[in-house]
């Protein structure tokens, strides 16, 4: 069983939105795989992302840093990263690092998709 599984596909709640579902552990080892999947979406011009972290048991600064790394590129091209499914453990880290101010967090995929439509 892999330490991190990443599922990416079109969101059912909006058009042109890529939904990432992360399960497992995101650390300095597994972040490499995630970044590969990021590149694939950017190359395919999919720049509006919803990232579902509900299956994530662990996230480290390496994982968080990878989101930061791709964020300005996505925003420059009219996209963004919206997070959904934050567990209390992960929400705490977002607060500690101030990610709450930088990334938008939504209660559900539908809400996040609606937010993209409003832009």
């Amino acid at each position: 069983m892999d330490l991190l599984t990443v599922d990416v596909g079109p969101s059912a709640h909006g058009s042109g939105i890529a939904l990432f579902r992360l399960k497992g552990h995101l650390d300095a080892q597994t972040v490499r795989e995630l970044e590969g999947r990021f590149d694939a979406q950017v190359k395919a011009s999919k720049v509006r992302w919803i990232v579902d972290l509900s299956g994530l048991e662990y996230i480290s600064s390496a994982g968080l840093g990878s989101f930061i790394g791709v964020l300005s590129e996505l925003r420059a091209r009219g996209g963004d990263i919206f997070f959904v499914g934050l567990t209390p453990k992960i929400e705490k880290i977002f607060r500690v690092l101030g990610f709450i101010r930088i990334f938008k967090v939504f209660a559900s995929e539908a809400e996040a998709a609606r937010a993209y439509e409003g832009l």
Partner: protein
Amino acid sequence: MPPLSLLEETCAQDDVTIVRVAGTFDIATLPQFETLLRRLRESGRIKIVVDLAGLDYISSSGLGAFLGTVDPFRALGGDLVFVRLSERVQKIFKVVGFTRLLTIMADEQDALRNFSPRRPPLNQLILSPATGTPHSGEAFEVEVLAADERGMAFEAFTGEAVLRASTGIVSPAKVGPFKAGVWRGKVVLTGPGATGLRAACVGGEAFGEVFLQVQETKQPAVLPFAVACPGCGLSIDISAFNVYRCKACEEVYFVDKWAHAISLKGGKREETFSPKRFSLSFPADVNLLAAVRAFIVAALREHGFGPDLVNDLEMAADEAVTNVVEHAYQYDNRKTVFLELSFEKAGVQVKVKDQGQAFNPLQTDPVNLDRHIAERRTGGLGVHLIQSLMDTVDYRREDGFNVLTLTKQGSPA
């Protein structure tokens, strides 16, 4: 009178000759000995070990002649070293004062050491585990011998050695001090499979490795089973992991799930708090982060800490170790990371150590998140996280190690 037999031998040191003596030294047989010695001397063999174990008898004329044989060798910078004297011969030599005039030693090894221009240097560590198939998580005895290239103990080594396992984790990470070149003690390996257990002197002059096949964690015993009282050996059948009082000797003991009967001293459970410490060493490899986190989580939960403290320490330790792998060791997984987890009365302490260049991670600029994003920087968050999650964070440079000490207050539930 039995004749004299003289046997010449070479040995590990090629400038030393061994002469084994059997029989009698007296006026009849001495010329044989003198001739042999002269021949050796004339062919440049001036370092001679004379093995007197087989010497049955030495007459007074024999004694006199002995002294005469040694001086020519000493004059040339060599010597005759007499070894393995029987008690009777020793007594005789003492009475006539030879023990002050001749070089006499216990055995060949001592004589060779006497002859070597300088002691052979420390060359290797030889590991001798008590078993080649230890169980994961179960301590086993290991002897580590600091030796020269011949495998002889290098007695001058009294320092410490670092332990490392090629797969899994070994504890303790550091052993010592060595006494007369030897350390003996208990070691624990985790992770089943073939592993190379490697020891290296602190300072790196010598190392050694032994291969072990680590077995799965021993299966817990299946109830009911019989245990023996640790005090008197009286056997009882037990059907629960519990505390028992022995009917025969009043000993009070606890039986755990491995079927160990652990004596509770003096019949009273001692309620003193004993700090515990774990020491790990492992290769600097991000593929091991998950295992290190799992270890920390398990150790903290086992000790009774709640999920908040466990999560914070899991994260802080991961960040600290990741920093070492990435910055101190530049992803070189031949390097070793050291982690110490200890429980004090007030809470938990984690120390992460590395032998990279002196580098204080706390001196990097505090992270400005907006600028971080604008500049697309992905590093630097780890230290910020550690400082936010931990109560104290301290950096020190000690004995060639970077030492990052994290503490978190809290007590078990």
